[in-house]
Symmetry: C2
Subunit: 243 residues, 2 copies
Protein backbone atom coordinates (compact mmCIF):
# COMPACT_ATOMS: atom_id res chain seq x y z
CA UNK A 1 0.00 0.00 0.00
CA UNK A 2 2.71 2.43 0.96
CA UNK A 3 5.06 3.33 -1.85
CA UNK A 4 8.67 3.72 -0.89
CA UNK A 5 10.33 7.00 -1.77
CA UNK A 6 13.19 6.07 -4.08
CA UNK A 7 14.99 9.42 -4.05
CA UNK A 8 15.93 9.90 -0.44
CA UNK A 9 16.83 13.46 0.37
CA UNK A 10 20.44 14.08 1.44
CA UNK A 11 19.21 14.43 5.04
CA UNK A 12 20.69 17.35 6.87
CA UNK A 13 22.15 16.81 10.32
CA UNK A 14 20.82 19.11 12.99
CA UNK A 15 24.22 20.66 13.58
CA UNK A 16 24.22 21.79 9.97
CA UNK A 17 21.05 23.75 10.57
CA UNK A 18 22.87 25.44 13.42
CA UNK A 19 25.77 26.12 11.08
CA UNK A 20 23.54 27.78 8.50
CA UNK A 21 21.92 29.85 11.22
CA UNK A 22 25.37 31.01 12.28
CA UNK A 23 26.37 31.78 8.69
CA UNK A 24 23.36 34.10 8.49
CA UNK A 25 24.55 35.89 11.60
CA UNK A 26 28.14 36.06 10.39
CA UNK A 27 27.11 37.45 7.03
CA UNK A 28 25.49 40.47 8.59
CA UNK A 29 28.33 41.37 10.95
CA UNK A 30 31.77 42.91 10.41
CA UNK A 31 34.94 41.04 11.46
CA UNK A 32 35.58 41.24 15.19
CA UNK A 33 31.91 41.21 16.16
CA UNK A 34 30.77 39.05 19.03
CA UNK A 35 28.36 36.23 18.16
CA UNK A 36 25.93 34.71 20.69
CA UNK A 37 27.46 32.45 23.34
CA UNK A 38 27.23 28.69 23.09
CA UNK A 39 24.74 28.48 25.93
CA UNK A 40 22.49 31.11 24.40
CA UNK A 41 22.53 29.36 21.02
CA UNK A 42 21.66 26.13 22.84
CA UNK A 43 18.52 27.73 24.24
CA UNK A 44 17.58 29.67 21.11
CA UNK A 45 17.85 26.69 18.80
CA UNK A 46 16.54 24.07 21.21
CA UNK A 47 19.55 21.82 20.92
CA UNK A 48 22.42 20.56 23.03
CA UNK A 49 25.67 22.37 23.56
CA UNK A 50 27.57 19.52 21.88
CA UNK A 51 25.63 20.10 18.67
CA UNK A 52 26.18 23.85 18.81
CA UNK A 53 29.88 23.30 19.38
CA UNK A 54 30.15 21.01 16.39
CA UNK A 55 28.75 23.74 14.14
CA UNK A 56 31.02 26.34 15.72
CA UNK A 57 34.07 24.10 15.32
CA UNK A 58 33.50 23.75 11.60
CA UNK A 59 33.14 27.48 11.16
CA UNK A 60 36.29 28.06 13.17
CA UNK A 61 38.08 25.52 11.00
CA UNK A 62 36.92 27.35 7.89
CA UNK A 63 38.21 30.63 9.20
CA UNK A 64 34.80 32.22 9.64
CA UNK A 65 34.87 32.46 13.43
CA UNK A 66 37.46 32.81 16.19
CA UNK A 67 36.93 31.45 19.68
CA UNK A 68 38.55 32.96 22.75
CA UNK A 69 38.19 31.00 25.96
CA UNK A 70 36.71 33.02 28.78
CA UNK A 71 35.79 35.80 26.40
CA UNK A 72 33.54 34.73 23.57
CA UNK A 73 33.28 33.81 19.90
CA UNK A 74 33.93 36.43 17.24
CA UNK A 75 33.58 36.91 13.48
CA UNK A 76 37.00 36.25 11.94
CA UNK A 77 39.09 38.42 9.65
CA UNK A 78 39.30 37.30 5.99
CA UNK A 79 41.96 34.76 5.10
CA UNK A 80 45.43 35.79 3.96
CA UNK A 81 46.72 34.74 0.51
CA UNK A 82 50.14 33.19 0.30
CA UNK A 83 51.94 32.71 -3.03
CA UNK A 84 53.52 29.42 -4.03
CA UNK A 85 56.76 30.43 -5.59
CA UNK A 86 60.34 29.37 -6.12
CA UNK A 87 61.93 32.31 -4.33
CA UNK A 88 62.86 32.19 -0.68
CA UNK A 89 60.30 32.64 2.03
CA UNK A 90 61.79 35.93 3.16
CA UNK A 91 61.78 37.44 -0.33
CA UNK A 92 58.24 36.27 -1.03
CA UNK A 93 56.93 38.05 1.99
CA UNK A 94 58.83 41.26 1.36
CA UNK A 95 57.33 41.43 -2.14
CA UNK A 96 53.86 41.03 -0.72
CA UNK A 97 54.50 43.84 1.72
CA UNK A 98 54.70 41.75 4.86
CA UNK A 99 57.27 41.89 7.61
CA UNK A 100 58.50 38.40 8.23
CA UNK A 101 60.60 37.12 11.08
CA UNK A 102 61.87 33.64 11.75
CA UNK A 103 62.36 31.94 15.07
CA UNK A 104 64.73 28.99 15.22
CA UNK A 105 63.02 26.37 17.36
CA UNK A 106 65.46 23.53 16.98
CA UNK A 107 68.45 22.55 14.87
CA UNK A 108 69.86 19.11 15.38
CA UNK A 109 71.66 16.31 13.62
CA UNK A 110 69.91 12.98 13.44
CA UNK A 111 69.87 9.75 11.48
CA UNK A 112 67.82 9.69 8.29
CA UNK A 113 64.69 7.57 8.44
CA UNK A 114 63.52 5.74 5.37
CA UNK A 115 61.60 8.63 3.85
CA UNK A 116 64.27 11.27 4.52
CA UNK A 117 66.93 8.99 3.03
CA UNK A 118 64.95 8.56 -0.16
CA UNK A 119 64.24 12.27 -0.47
CA UNK A 120 67.78 13.41 0.16
CA UNK A 121 69.45 10.62 -1.78
CA UNK A 122 71.45 9.33 1.21
CA UNK A 123 71.53 5.97 2.98
CA UNK A 124 69.10 5.18 5.79
CA UNK A 125 70.85 6.13 9.03
CA UNK A 126 73.07 8.73 7.37
CA UNK A 127 73.46 12.00 9.21
CA UNK A 128 70.97 14.72 8.30
CA UNK A 129 70.31 18.17 9.71
CA UNK A 130 66.80 18.75 10.96
CA UNK A 131 65.90 22.41 11.30
CA UNK A 132 62.65 23.46 12.87
CA UNK A 133 61.58 27.06 12.48
CA UNK A 134 58.59 29.20 13.28
CA UNK A 135 57.64 31.74 10.63
CA UNK A 136 55.96 34.93 11.79
CA UNK A 137 54.20 37.53 9.65
CA UNK A 138 53.89 40.94 11.23
CA UNK A 139 54.57 39.27 14.56
CA UNK A 140 51.85 36.61 14.30
CA UNK A 141 52.76 32.94 13.99
CA UNK A 142 52.14 31.76 10.46
CA UNK A 143 53.75 28.38 9.90
CA UNK A 144 55.91 25.71 11.47
CA UNK A 145 58.61 24.54 9.10
CA UNK A 146 60.63 21.35 9.31
CA UNK A 147 63.60 21.18 6.93
CA UNK A 148 65.94 18.28 6.36
CA UNK A 149 69.26 18.45 4.51
CA UNK A 150 72.16 16.04 4.10
CA UNK A 151 74.85 16.74 6.71
CA UNK A 152 77.58 15.36 4.45
CA UNK A 153 76.66 17.76 1.70
CA UNK A 154 76.36 20.88 3.86
CA UNK A 155 78.97 20.58 6.66
CA UNK A 156 78.65 23.17 9.40
CA UNK A 157 75.26 24.33 8.21
CA UNK A 158 73.63 24.66 11.60
CA UNK A 159 76.35 26.95 12.96
CA UNK A 160 76.05 29.22 9.92
CA UNK A 161 72.29 29.34 10.24
CA UNK A 162 72.52 30.84 13.70
CA UNK A 163 74.21 33.93 12.24
CA UNK A 164 72.34 34.22 8.95
CA UNK A 165 68.68 33.29 9.22
CA UNK A 166 67.95 32.93 5.51
CA UNK A 167 68.61 29.32 4.57
CA UNK A 168 68.70 30.05 0.87
CA UNK A 169 71.30 32.76 1.36
CA UNK A 170 73.50 30.43 3.41
CA UNK A 171 73.22 27.78 0.73
CA UNK A 172 74.15 30.23 -2.00
CA UNK A 173 77.01 32.00 -0.19
CA UNK A 174 78.63 29.14 1.71
CA UNK A 175 77.95 26.16 -0.50
CA UNK A 176 77.41 27.77 -3.90
CA UNK A 177 74.20 25.81 -4.09
CA UNK A 178 70.80 27.05 -5.24
CA UNK A 179 67.54 25.23 -5.79
CA UNK A 180 66.32 25.63 -9.36
CA UNK A 181 63.49 23.16 -9.33
CA UNK A 182 61.08 21.84 -6.74
CA UNK A 183 58.11 19.54 -6.33
CA UNK A 184 55.49 20.84 -4.00
CA UNK A 185 52.60 18.92 -2.57
CA UNK A 186 49.66 20.33 -0.67
CA UNK A 187 47.39 18.42 1.65
CA UNK A 188 45.20 18.80 4.70
CA UNK A 189 45.97 17.65 8.24
CA UNK A 190 44.89 18.22 11.83
CA UNK A 191 47.09 20.22 14.22
CA UNK A 192 49.07 18.24 16.79
CA UNK A 193 49.08 19.68 20.33
CA UNK A 194 52.61 21.00 19.82
CA UNK A 195 51.95 22.69 16.49
CA UNK A 196 48.65 24.02 17.77
CA UNK A 197 50.43 25.72 20.65
CA UNK A 198 53.14 27.17 18.42
CA UNK A 199 50.57 28.52 16.00
CA UNK A 200 48.22 29.71 18.74
CA UNK A 201 45.32 27.55 17.64
CA UNK A 202 43.52 24.43 18.85
CA UNK A 203 44.67 20.85 18.73
CA UNK A 204 42.91 19.20 15.81
CA UNK A 205 42.39 22.42 13.87
CA UNK A 206 42.56 21.90 10.09
CA UNK A 207 45.87 22.83 8.52
CA UNK A 208 47.39 23.11 5.08
CA UNK A 209 50.59 21.10 4.82
CA UNK A 210 53.00 22.17 2.11
CA UNK A 211 55.89 19.84 1.32
CA UNK A 212 58.71 21.04 -0.86
CA UNK A 213 61.37 18.81 -2.35
CA UNK A 214 63.98 20.97 -4.06
CA UNK A 215 66.84 20.21 -6.43
CA UNK A 216 69.90 22.01 -7.77
CA UNK A 217 70.84 22.47 -11.43
CA UNK A 218 72.34 18.99 -11.64
CA UNK A 219 69.16 17.44 -10.36
CA UNK A 220 70.60 16.50 -6.95
CA UNK A 221 68.22 16.97 -4.01
CA UNK A 222 69.00 19.92 -1.74
CA UNK A 223 66.36 19.94 0.92
CA UNK A 224 63.08 18.45 1.94
CA UNK A 225 60.76 20.77 3.86
CA UNK A 226 57.33 20.39 5.32
CA UNK A 227 55.44 23.48 6.44
CA UNK A 228 52.24 23.53 8.48
CA UNK A 229 49.98 26.55 7.93
CA UNK A 230 46.78 27.36 9.76
CA UNK A 231 44.04 26.40 7.32
CA UNK A 232 41.64 28.89 8.88
CA UNK A 233 43.93 31.78 8.11
CA UNK A 234 45.82 31.12 4.90
CA UNK A 235 45.03 30.41 1.27
CA UNK A 236 47.70 29.38 -1.23
CA UNK A 237 47.85 31.12 -4.56
CA UNK A 238 49.65 29.94 -7.69
CA UNK A 239 49.85 31.55 -11.10
CA UNK A 240 49.87 29.08 -13.95
CA UNK A 241 50.70 29.66 -17.60
CA UNK A 242 50.12 27.38 -20.57
CA UNK A 243 53.12 25.40 -21.81
Amino acid sequence: MVVAVSERAPREPKYYLVKRHLLDIIGSLPPGSLVPTERILTLELGTSRTTVRRALSELVGEGRLVRRQGSGTYVAEPKISWPLRMTSFTEQAAEAGYTVTTQLLDARRQRADEEAAARLDVKVGASVFVIERLRLVNGAAMAVELSQLSAARFPGLVAKLRREPSLYRVLAESYDSAPVEADETIETAAASPRKAELLDTDTGAPMLVLSRHSFDASGAPIEWVRSWYRGDRYTFVARLTAR
Copy 2:
Protein backbone atom coordinates in the same frame (compact mmCIF):
# COMPACT_ATOMS: atom_id res chain seq x y z
CA MET B 1 57.50 28.92 49.09
CA VAL B 2 56.14 27.23 46.02
CA VAL B 3 57.79 28.30 42.81
CA ALA B 4 55.49 28.58 39.83
CA VAL B 5 56.44 26.56 36.78
CA SER B 6 56.98 29.10 34.02
CA GLU B 7 57.15 26.67 31.12
CA ARG B 8 53.79 24.98 31.11
CA ALA B 9 53.75 21.82 29.08
CA PRO B 10 51.61 21.83 25.94
CA ARG B 11 49.06 19.66 27.76
CA GLU B 12 47.75 16.82 25.67
CA PRO B 13 44.01 16.23 25.46
CA LYS B 14 42.90 12.73 26.25
CA TYR B 15 41.56 12.18 22.76
CA TYR B 16 45.05 12.79 21.43
CA LEU B 17 46.33 9.89 23.46
CA VAL B 18 43.67 7.77 21.81
CA LYS B 19 44.79 9.09 18.45
CA ARG B 20 48.40 8.11 19.05
CA HIS B 21 47.28 4.68 20.19
CA LEU B 22 45.38 4.30 16.94
CA LEU B 23 48.35 5.50 14.90
CA ASP B 24 50.38 2.68 16.45
CA ILE B 25 47.75 0.19 15.37
CA ILE B 26 47.46 1.69 11.88
CA GLY B 27 51.22 1.65 11.40
CA SER B 28 51.39 -2.11 11.84
CA LEU B 29 48.53 -3.00 9.53
CA PRO B 30 48.11 -3.02 5.75
CA PRO B 31 45.42 -0.90 4.06
CA GLY B 32 41.98 -2.47 4.28
CA SER B 33 42.55 -4.00 7.71
CA LEU B 34 39.84 -3.75 10.32
CA VAL B 35 40.68 -1.74 13.44
CA PRO B 36 38.93 -2.29 16.80
CA THR B 37 35.35 -1.05 17.07
CA GLU B 38 34.53 2.18 18.86
CA ARG B 39 32.94 0.36 21.78
CA ILE B 40 35.94 -1.91 22.23
CA LEU B 41 38.34 1.06 22.18
CA THR B 42 36.12 2.75 24.74
CA LEU B 43 36.57 -0.18 27.11
CA GLU B 44 40.26 -0.77 26.36
CA LEU B 45 41.26 2.84 26.91
CA GLY B 46 38.86 3.60 29.74
CA THR B 47 37.26 6.55 28.03
CA SER B 48 33.94 7.59 26.55
CA ARG B 49 32.80 6.86 23.05
CA THR B 50 32.69 10.58 22.28
CA THR B 51 36.40 10.86 22.98
CA VAL B 52 37.20 7.80 20.90
CA ARG B 53 35.14 9.18 18.05
CA ARG B 54 36.94 12.50 18.11
CA ALA B 55 40.26 10.72 17.62
CA LEU B 56 38.79 8.53 14.88
CA SER B 57 37.30 11.54 13.12
CA GLU B 58 40.66 13.27 12.90
CA LEU B 59 42.31 10.18 11.48
CA VAL B 60 39.51 9.79 8.95
CA GLY B 61 39.96 13.44 8.00
CA GLU B 62 43.65 12.87 7.48
CA GLY B 63 43.00 9.92 5.23
CA ARG B 64 44.41 7.31 7.58
CA LEU B 65 41.14 5.50 8.33
CA VAL B 66 37.87 4.83 6.56
CA ARG B 67 34.61 4.33 8.42
CA ARG B 68 31.77 2.25 7.04
CA GLN B 69 28.50 2.43 8.91
CA GLY B 70 27.21 -0.94 9.95
CA SER B 71 30.48 -2.59 9.04
CA GLY B 72 33.50 -1.16 10.82
CA THR B 73 36.54 1.09 10.61
CA TYR B 74 39.40 0.23 8.29
CA VAL B 75 42.95 1.32 7.52
CA ALA B 76 42.77 3.62 4.46
CA GLU B 77 44.60 3.40 1.16
CA PRO B 78 47.36 5.98 0.61
CA LYS B 79 46.31 9.33 -0.80
CA ILE B 80 46.24 10.02 -4.52
CA SER B 81 48.41 12.79 -5.99
CA TRP B 82 46.79 15.23 -8.35
CA PRO B 83 48.81 17.63 -10.51
CA LEU B 84 48.08 21.34 -10.71
CA ARG B 85 48.48 22.12 -14.34
CA MET B 86 47.22 24.34 -17.11
CA THR B 87 45.90 21.56 -19.35
CA SER B 88 42.34 20.36 -19.20
CA PHE B 89 41.11 18.03 -16.55
CA THR B 90 40.56 15.19 -18.98
CA GLU B 91 44.04 15.43 -20.48
CA GLN B 92 45.67 15.66 -17.07
CA ALA B 93 44.12 12.45 -15.96
CA ALA B 94 44.90 10.58 -19.15
CA GLU B 95 48.57 11.49 -18.78
CA ALA B 96 48.58 10.17 -15.25
CA GLY B 97 47.05 6.92 -16.44
CA TYR B 98 43.62 7.37 -14.94
CA THR B 99 40.29 6.83 -16.58
CA VAL B 100 38.20 9.88 -15.96
CA THR B 101 34.51 10.38 -16.54
CA THR B 102 32.38 13.42 -15.98
CA GLN B 103 28.79 13.59 -14.89
CA LEU B 104 26.85 16.74 -15.64
CA LEU B 105 24.83 17.53 -12.51
CA ASP B 106 23.37 20.84 -13.49
CA ALA B 107 23.74 23.49 -16.17
CA ARG B 108 21.71 26.63 -15.79
CA ARG B 109 21.70 30.30 -16.57
CA GLN B 110 21.53 32.71 -13.66
CA ARG B 111 22.28 36.29 -12.71
CA ALA B 112 25.82 37.09 -11.66
CA ASP B 113 26.27 37.88 -7.99
CA GLU B 114 28.86 40.41 -6.92
CA GLU B 115 31.80 38.02 -6.85
CA ALA B 116 30.97 36.29 -10.15
CA ALA B 117 30.54 39.67 -11.84
CA ALA B 118 33.95 40.82 -10.70
CA ARG B 119 35.62 37.58 -11.76
CA LEU B 120 34.02 37.40 -15.19
CA ASP B 121 34.22 41.11 -15.90
CA VAL B 122 30.46 41.54 -16.38
CA LYS B 123 27.88 43.64 -14.58
CA VAL B 124 26.14 42.39 -11.44
CA GLY B 125 22.93 40.71 -12.59
CA ALA B 126 24.28 39.89 -16.04
CA SER B 127 23.53 36.41 -17.35
CA VAL B 128 26.11 33.74 -16.56
CA PHE B 129 26.19 29.99 -17.14
CA VAL B 130 26.64 27.92 -14.03
CA ILE B 131 27.79 24.39 -14.73
CA GLU B 132 28.02 21.83 -11.98
CA ARG B 133 29.86 18.63 -12.71
CA LEU B 134 30.98 15.57 -10.83
CA ARG B 135 34.43 14.24 -11.74
CA LEU B 136 35.05 10.54 -11.39
CA VAL B 137 38.38 8.72 -11.51
CA ASN B 138 38.15 5.05 -12.35
CA GLY B 139 34.48 5.26 -11.41
CA ALA B 140 34.99 6.80 -7.96
CA ALA B 141 33.80 10.31 -7.22
CA MET B 142 36.76 12.67 -7.03
CA ALA B 143 35.57 16.25 -7.10
CA VAL B 144 32.55 18.49 -7.43
CA GLU B 145 33.20 21.32 -9.85
CA LEU B 146 31.25 24.55 -10.17
CA SER B 147 32.11 26.61 -13.26
CA GLN B 148 30.83 30.04 -14.19
CA LEU B 149 31.19 31.69 -17.59
CA SER B 150 29.70 34.78 -19.18
CA ALA B 151 26.59 33.88 -21.20
CA ALA B 152 27.09 36.83 -23.51
CA ARG B 153 30.56 35.69 -24.42
CA PHE B 154 29.73 32.02 -24.99
CA PRO B 155 26.20 31.84 -26.45
CA GLY B 156 24.73 28.36 -26.63
CA LEU B 157 27.43 26.88 -24.45
CA VAL B 158 25.21 24.65 -22.37
CA ALA B 159 23.67 22.93 -25.40
CA LYS B 160 27.11 22.24 -26.86
CA LEU B 161 28.34 20.86 -23.56
CA ARG B 162 25.71 18.15 -23.57
CA ARG B 163 27.25 16.67 -26.70
CA GLU B 164 30.94 17.27 -25.98
CA PRO B 165 31.84 16.83 -22.33
CA SER B 166 35.25 18.54 -22.43
CA LEU B 167 34.69 22.22 -21.68
CA TYR B 168 38.10 23.22 -22.96
CA ARG B 169 37.48 21.48 -26.28
CA VAL B 170 34.13 23.23 -26.69
CA LEU B 171 35.77 26.56 -25.97
CA ALA B 172 38.52 25.93 -28.48
CA GLU B 173 36.37 24.50 -31.28
CA SER B 174 33.21 26.59 -31.02
CA TYR B 175 34.50 29.87 -29.68
CA ASP B 176 38.16 29.81 -30.71
CA SER B 177 38.98 30.60 -27.12
CA ALA B 178 41.68 29.02 -24.98
CA PRO B 179 42.87 29.82 -21.48
CA VAL B 180 46.58 30.65 -21.44
CA GLU B 181 46.91 31.89 -17.91
CA ALA B 182 45.19 31.17 -14.62
CA ASP B 183 45.30 32.07 -10.96
CA GLU B 184 44.68 29.16 -8.66
CA THR B 185 43.97 29.32 -4.98
CA ILE B 186 43.90 26.41 -2.58
CA GLU B 187 42.21 26.35 0.79
CA THR B 188 40.52 24.04 3.26
CA ALA B 189 36.79 23.72 3.93
CA ALA B 190 34.27 21.35 5.47
CA ALA B 191 31.96 19.29 3.27
CA SER B 192 28.34 20.45 3.02
CA PRO B 193 25.70 17.69 3.22
CA ARG B 194 25.15 17.87 -0.52
CA LYS B 195 28.82 17.69 -1.48
CA ALA B 196 29.40 15.00 1.11
CA GLU B 197 26.73 12.84 -0.49
CA LEU B 198 28.03 13.39 -4.01
CA LEU B 199 31.56 12.53 -2.95
CA ASP B 200 30.47 9.62 -0.75
CA THR B 201 31.90 11.04 2.43
CA ASP B 202 30.60 12.65 5.63
CA THR B 203 29.18 16.09 6.18
CA GLY B 204 31.90 18.21 7.72
CA ALA B 205 34.76 16.15 6.31
CA PRO B 206 37.82 18.28 5.50
CA MET B 207 38.18 19.17 1.84
CA LEU B 208 40.64 20.89 -0.44
CA VAL B 209 39.00 23.66 -2.41
CA LEU B 210 40.74 24.65 -5.62
CA SER B 211 39.60 27.85 -7.32
CA ARG B 212 40.75 28.62 -10.81
CA HIS B 213 40.36 31.95 -12.52
CA SER B 214 41.48 31.63 -16.13
CA PHE B 215 42.18 34.17 -18.86
CA ASP B 216 42.70 34.13 -22.62
CA ALA B 217 45.66 35.59 -24.52
CA SER B 218 44.21 39.09 -24.40
CA GLY B 219 43.84 38.93 -20.63
CA ALA B 220 40.05 38.67 -20.68
CA PRO B 221 38.56 36.28 -18.10
CA ILE B 222 37.17 33.04 -19.51
CA GLU B 223 35.91 31.08 -16.55
CA TRP B 224 35.84 30.93 -12.81
CA VAL B 225 35.78 27.44 -11.34
CA ARG B 226 35.72 26.10 -7.85
CA SER B 227 36.43 22.41 -7.25
CA TRP B 228 35.92 20.54 -4.01
CA TYR B 229 38.18 17.52 -3.49
CA ARG B 230 38.11 15.07 -0.62
CA GLY B 231 41.01 16.11 1.59
CA ASP B 232 41.36 12.61 2.96
CA ARG B 233 41.99 11.17 -0.47
CA TYR B 234 43.83 13.71 -2.59
CA THR B 235 47.09 15.63 -2.47
CA PHE B 236 47.89 18.38 -4.94
CA VAL B 237 51.27 18.38 -6.64
CA ALA B 238 52.94 21.27 -8.44
CA ARG B 239 56.30 21.44 -10.13
CA LEU B 240 58.04 24.77 -9.74
CA THR B 241 61.04 26.11 -11.59
CA ALA B 242 63.17 29.13 -10.79
CA ARG B 243 62.53 32.37 -12.67
